[in-house]
């Protein structure tokens, strides 16, 4: 975009032929009173306020967010209201959906699908969010430290990240799960061991990029302490990309968990998760196909909602990237 050289506003619309760039510039001089009082003509809008406005104007992102909240409510409130997700009833196996007492039907052991689906939603979401939070903290600490120290330590730390990412996550996960005893704790541990590298890379890149900025230099010149610069300048400016990465990481973790559960290595039955629900349903293939389709559709829609929300967040936090 054009620079305003010597304080003379340059009409950018003349220079860029981009038809989407339809800013109109107001060349009316400010009233003298406004200049003398030192106040801007329009109340200042903070970056976060601005980003929130942009996000709320994005209907897809808002709908996705609402969907995620509803799914989470269904998972957490639903599984508390319907605790009998392991209760078997061998007289009533394979009831179709809309049966009395079982709105979504029952599986091959007569367990209620609605209760299992709620429980599975709760487990999958819990794992997705827990692992993402741990990865966020570990990644920020590791990447931030690496970028902050620099030098040889940085080189070694980044080599380690490179080696971990050189092999696809799933191969490491499968290897870990053959060695470790299965269970939810193990699964979370395994997902954390492979998942922190993305955030570490991002945090390092942000640290390296932000510390070169003029406002950091200005703060240093003015005598600000390192801690103040990190807390007041670097973290708030890095927050946008980190939030986007976090939102995108949740569906990634849920995908890995359900992939493992689908091939029988993640969450073990009778505990429920989206992956093993879909797998149990697929085992009944091609009869009783609703046992597969119902969890599969809820799972896919939630993944879609997370991705759309992530896209919306990126557009809102970094409008220059908007397409």
């Amino acid at each position: 975009m054009a620079e305003a050289a010597y304080g003379v506003p340059v009409h950018t619309a003349l220079l860029s032929a981009d038809p989407t760039d339809s800013h109109t510039y107001d060349y009316t001089p400010l009233p003298n009173t406004a200049i003398r009082s030192g106040r801007a003509a329009r109340p200042p809008v903070s970056y976060w306020r601005d980003a929130l406005d942009r996000l709320l104007r994005n209907k897809t992102a808002v709908a996705s967010f609402a969907f995620i909240i509803l799914t989470a409510l269904f998972g957490f409130a639903g599984s508390s209201l319907m605790p009998g997700f392991t209760k078997q009833d061998l007289y009533n196996t394979f009831l179709p959906p809309l049966s009395p007492g079982h709105p979504l039907g029952t599986d091959e052991l007569g367990r209620d699908l609605l209760a299992r689906l709620a429980r599975g939603t709760r487990i999958s979401l819990t794992i997705g969010v827990t692992v993402s939070v741990i990865n966020l903290v570990v990644g920020l600490a590791y990447g931030g430290l690496s970028g902050y120290i620099g030098g040889m330590a940085d080189v070694v730390m980044m080599r380690i990240v490179e080696i971990v990412t050189a092999v696809p996550e799933m191969i490491i996960l499968l290897l870990l799960l053959t060695v470790l005893k299965s269970g939810m704790g193990t699964l979370i541990l395994a997902l954390c061991l492979t998942g922190w590298t993305g955030m570490a890379r991002l945090a390092r890149a942000q640290a390296l990029q932000l510390r070169e900025n003029e406002y950091v230099l200005a703060a240093r010149v003015l005598g600000a302490s390192r801690l103040w610069i990190v807390l007041r300048h670097m973290i708030p400016n890095a927050l946008g990309p980190i939030m986007v990465r976090f939102a995108m990481s949740v569906p990634g973790v849920i995908f890995a968990e359900s992939f493992l559960s689908y091939i029988g290595l993640g969450i073990a039955i009778p505990e429920a998760s989206w992956g093993n629900l879909a797998q149990l349903g697929a085992n009944q293939f091609p009869n009783h196909i609703w046992l597969f389709f119902i969890p599969a559709i809820l799972f896919s829609l939630t993944m879609l909602a997370f991705n759309l929300l992530g896209d919306g967040l990126r557009d809102a936090l970094d409008p220059r990237q908007r397409r």
Partner: protein
């Protein structure tokens, strides 16, 4: 240039070394002995195997034996489930099947993604663009194992059944399983390639939109070149380079995806053997295949990276200065 290549090769070798060492340590620390199957083996067989893999040796000589078996003799160990079969012979038999599936999926994903990304960018914000963006976000969001089972049911059972009834034949249009002729490959290829198609579409689209506003496009237009010529010679050729970078990563995604797709469609590929070895606790097989997959992927990424530095010299400088 030679510096960059040497460095890149060095990192790959280091990665392979770390992976072999880690797998060795895991193997060494696993409890039990590898040849305690359900059917007891004759002592002479056990002695021979112990000698071959150095199982009675102390840790360090055993490690050297392990390295020489893998890198000098190409021997990845002995399966404990498939008796009389070593991992290398299984790789020789099953890898071509997986490679065929993977190459088909990648070809479909890359070519389809490039075309739909270019189309999308040329029709920016029109209906065609919307459509291909929706396909791309669905392809990123729906897990391949869910889509695979869905299509197996909808196309393999329902649609093919309908075709059978309509024409009163026994011809199965979309077979449910196995890997025999071209029509057996259609659904697995589509499912495995859709994720790649989606990410290539998104990448191509955004890279094309970056190029569209460049000055040289305006120059080309004012020279009076035809639209077709501008699109192919000036836009696509410049937009395609960044897309190349994601191809290395996609090989990993396709390999990972094949683990579950081969299981769903009963394709006798390496992924199926890998997952079966994990679920049946065939440790030597799991570790042998982990090593094989890891080395394969590290080498593919090396080739892709070196290829990219030949195509686009800017990358070399850029990466060299970052590292």
């Amino acid at each position: 240039m030679p510096g960059y290549i040497l460095k890149r090769i060095g990192i790959s070798l280091l990665t392979i070394f770390v992976i072999t060492t880690v797998t060795f340590v895991l193997m060494y620390s696993l409890p039990g002995k590898p040849f305690l199957g359900e059917r007891p083996l004759p002592q002479s067989v056990i002695d021979a195997a112990n000698a071959k893999y150095g199982l009675n040796l102390p840790m360090f000589p055993r490690y050297l034996k392990y390295l020489s078996n893998i890198f000098l003799r190409g021997d990845f160990g002995q399966s404990t489930v498939y008796t009389n079969r070593d991992v290398t012979s299984i790789i020789k038999q099953a890898f071509p099947v997986s490679a065929s599936l993977g190459i088909r999926a990648l070809t479909f994903g890359v070519i389809g993604g490039l075309l739909s990304g270019i189309y999308s960018a040329l029709r920016h914000n029109k209906a065609g663009d919307r459509f291909s963006t929706v396909i791309a976000i669905l392809g990123v969001s729906i897990p391949s194992f869910i889509l695979g089972t869905m299509l197996q049911y909808l196309l393999g059972v329902k649609f093919s059944g309908w075709v059978k009834r309509l024409f009163d034949t026994k011809y199965q249009l979309f077979p449910l399983a196995r890997w025999e002729s071209f029509r057996y490959t259609l659904i697995p290829t589509f499912v495995l390639g859709l994720g790649s198609l989606a990410s290539v579409t998104r990448m191509t689209r955004s890279s094309m939109l970056d190029v569209v506003n460049q000055d040289y496009i305006k120059t080309a237009k004012s020279k009076g070149l035809s639209d077709l010529e501008i699109t192919w010679r000036h836009m696509v050729r410049n937009a395609i380079a960044p897309v190349y970078t994601v191809i290395g990563g996609m090989v990993g995604v396709v390999v990972t995806g094949s683990f579950v797709i081969e299981n769903i469609f009963s394709i006798p590929g390496l992924g199926k053997y890998f997952v079966n070895s994990v679920t049946s606790s065939d440790y030597p097989m799991t570790i042998g295949l982990t090593l094989f997959f890891s080395i394969f992927i590290v080498l593919v990424n090396l080739v892709v990276d070196l290829g990219y530095s030949l195509i686009d010299p800017r990358v070399r400088l850029d990466r060299a200065s970052k590292r």
